[in-house]
Amino acid sequence: MSEIREVIINNDRLATDEYLVNMGPQHPSTHGVLRLLVRLEGEKVLNVQPHTGYIHSGIEKMCEAITYPQIIHLTDRMDYLSAHMNNEAVALCVEKALQVEVPDRVKYIRTIMDELSRLASHQLWWCVFGMDMGALTTFFYGLRDREKILDIFEETCGARMTVSYNTPGGLMFDIHPNFQKRVKEFITYFRTKLPEYDKLLSGNVILRERAEGIGHLSLKDAIDFGVTGPSGRASGFSCDMRKHQPYSAYPLVKFKEILDDRCDTLARYEVRILEMYESLSIIEQLIDNIPEGDYAVKMKGVLKLPEGEFYQRVESARGEFGVYIVSDGKKNPYRVKFRSPGFSNMFALNKMAKGHKIADLVAIMSTLDLIIPDIDR
């Protein structure tokens, strides 16, 4: 064998060339319209360059022409799996600027909805991750459970994904009378189903072989690239905004920030699985204690923010989501910037995938949990 290899290496005619391969914009594993320009040597990845913009919709520009309550409806079109957190970030930012204190009831409901969204997002991530690795069964398991959360959303918000449930000053409407009962039913149900996830995929030998030690992202690199969310926490980067900049009802609940220092694909996988348990526990602490009261504060018909700059950070399912509003005192913002977690996370891909096989690239990309409209905005 080694002799043959030597002949190949020493013979220019038999030497392999580098390949430039386009993965996407229609590749199934890119989950949307992302194009990766991959430089390959055989199956080995030498370099990955993401090309974005296929679904750029100019949301930041549009925001400059609309009012603050209208912005809410654009934000759930960005990261449609963290729609509720994105809405909340804008609502909190406007409330902060206007110095409005929302009732406790709103805070509790917002937090419960946040965690339900996080669960739904992680469920979808889990089933798609399995699919990317070639295990189609997970897809049905994950979507089956996610439907239950979307049904709860539908009943209370009227929408399944782009909920637009928050509004500056509170919520669009009160929760549905069935809300608490159904959420509790869901928690009991999902507590029995979550161990199934582990049985089905977490302990799978093929998965562990393909994930352990693959796609290493050191703590220093995670901070340098601004990789946040479960992907960052799997590199030991303590970046949970629910802990560091608590908002809504997060100061009132007890939960662990899941950290892992193994920095590989498996760590990113396990962090998300454990986060689902934490989310369930947060909802359990709040669901029976939702205080009575108004579901919104009466706000003025036209909201004008005082002149100045306002920033709000929240933890979306993908990482740190930020809203930066520059106001000139009018009813439209002067400039709005959305700090989307996916944007920063994606560019660490090259660092993580370099030197691995192309099949590992798919797995690594899947554990970053990219949502393309979140990146392109």
């Binding site: 974005t52 913009g53 750029h56 100019g58 930041e60 520009k61 549009m62 400059e64 022409a65 902060k96 600027a97 690199d221 901070i223 340098d224 690239f225 601004g226 946040t228 980067f237 303590s238 970046c239 560091h244 100045g308 700059e309 306002f310 920033y311 950070r313 740190e320 930020g322 930066y324 520059v326 439209n332 400039r335 910037k337 700090r339 944007f343 920063s344 560019f347 392109d376």
Partner: protein
């Protein structure tokens, strides 16, 4: 450090800069010439160690352009805002900070794409989202010919 401590420490350390306490964070405005050196210092100084750049925003201030850097220290958990403005808006340019925080490389590409701010010494300054034939939509003088966005 609390905001007040941070403010007094920065005032002591960066005498040339304009420092004030904003609504939430300490805001420091530096000249375009001092930007790169300041960024390096903010990351290097042990008491500050701003190693996490979580947001980089380009803003069109009508008479010139600016970049707003939101920084956090993972060790000390304090946050500050660094601002730099370009000399004019005809050919706006600033030094890159992508050698200080890698993530800036991509955020600067976005600012270049949407606002047309040029970054000196940037190794890969290409447009991020739009085609080369587009203008820079987030500039206030951008003419929206097909009127996608009406104000």
């Amino acid at each position: 450090m609390t905001n007040e401590e941070l403010q007094s420490y920065l005032t002591e350390r960066f005498t040339e800069a304009e420092i004030k306490l904003g609504t939430q964070y300490v805001e420091m405005t530096v000249t375009a010439a001092a930007l790169h050196e300041t960024a390096l210092q903010l990351k290097k100084l042990d008491k500050l160690s701003f190693d996490y750049l979580f947001c980089l925003t380009g803003v069109d201030y009508a008479e010139n352009m600016g970049i707003v850097y939101h920084l956090e220290s993972v060790e000390h958990r304090h946050v500050m805002v660094l601002k730099a403005k370009t000399a004019d808006r005809v050919s706006p340019a600033l030094d890159t900070v992508s050698d200080v925080w890698i993530t800036a490389k991509y955020h600067e590409r976005e600012a270049y794409d949407l606002l047309g701010i040029h970054f000196n010494n940037h190794t890969d300054l290409r447009r991020m989202f739009l085609d080369d034939s587009w203008g820079h939509p987030l500039r206030k003088d951008y003419v929206d010919e097909v009127r996608i966005v009406e104000r």
